[in-house]
Subunit: 214 residues, 2 copies
Amino acid sequence: MPRRVYGHYSPLAQALDSVGERWALLVVGELLGGEARYGRLQQRLPGIGSAQLAARLRELERDGLVDREPSTGAYRLTAAGQGLAPAVYALARFGLARLRPLQGRSTAFRPSWAALSLRALADAAPPLPEPAIFETRVEDEVFQTVATPEGARTMPGGQEPPDLTVTTDTVTVFDLVAGIRSIARARAEGLLDATGGERLLEAWAWVHGLRAAP
Amino acid sequence: MPRRVYGHYSPLAQALDSVGERWALLVVGELLGGEARYGRLQQRLPGIGSAQLAARLRELERDGLVDREPSTGAYRLTAAGQGLAPAVYALARFGLARLRPLQGRSTAFRPSWAALSLRALADAAPPLPEPAIFETRVEDEVFQTVATPEGARTMPGGQEPPDLTVTTDTVTVFDLVAGIRSIARARAEGLLDATGGERLLEAWAWVHGLRAAP
DNA sequence: CGGCATCCGTGACGATACTG
DNA sequence: CAGTATCGTCACGGATGCCG
């Protein structure tokens, strides 16, 4: 628990006693995309101080939400930490609705945040009649979505052989998510590549909550 | 002076730029239970300083998540603020799993947190075959759950005539949620009262995620 | 070099007192 | 009752240093 705790016998306060401090949920959000070492987390969280990242990791470790692979030095979520996925994705969907279209380079953006957006949408996607495994590659960020009639789950890439692989870049993902650009147009402009049939690409869009757009 | 923001073009950072500060999500959690005036929020959030509560309310207002009824002075969530319900309830469910059974009076507890627990569980409850409206009264806290085959929604009390009304107290709710006490035993001990049939009480338990317990 | 620890200036927070 | 004022303390952000 952090130094400043609410001390309420409340489920919400209990959760925030674990992950309510600055940067904590952002660290968890990054680790939901797969394990990462210290330096990589620092790259993906511009603005975080060294001391803050170290402190958050230590607190998350102490609370049993994160552990560290001794051999590689990589941090990863424990089973308990994975339990934060619904909350993180729900928060991300809330934030997604409030993100103004990306205009300049004034604000920082990262492939991992584009991937997080797609995973957050998949987390709440309506089920897909026929099961499928998708792999999405946003620059260096790779993750898989396993869609079934019961719903969709996401996980780090390379676990299963995918039925469809989509390759694109950060800005294009944000354009798709914001409805500024359609998948068809992104594909025509060479911003998005898909290995698989048209049907599967439509299913990919459905699972990631992407509706028709200009 | 711009308050501390992440400045990331990330859905998660965007959400936390609005509600990531200390107490902010707890204030939202309270307002999900219905509108409340300043003093009542202070009572329900022990430990918050006057200045902090005022600051959080002002920020939430500026971000369009909360507004204030001019006549009564009550704060309430806007439609945008209601959009936080899934995230708050998901966080609460995460925290609920980490709450150790309530033992002493060492930590503060409030009826509104018991109600929040039940509403968080209802938010993720499996659908009920036959629709029903439940009213739950935990001391001064009253809310309704409208259950349908599509899922359950909760709202402040007194909106609709309920099919079943359950009346109980804070500690009993936490015991039920923790699985320490069964509904039947709580009822036998006079800790829980239900106006309605046995079938409806079972449905109430189902909707609020309460399984069989000793 | 990557992985942190240390130091320091600023500002957010907690506690309490005060005011319309 | 609904906040504002004040102040001490601590957490955070930025930079730098150490150490394998």
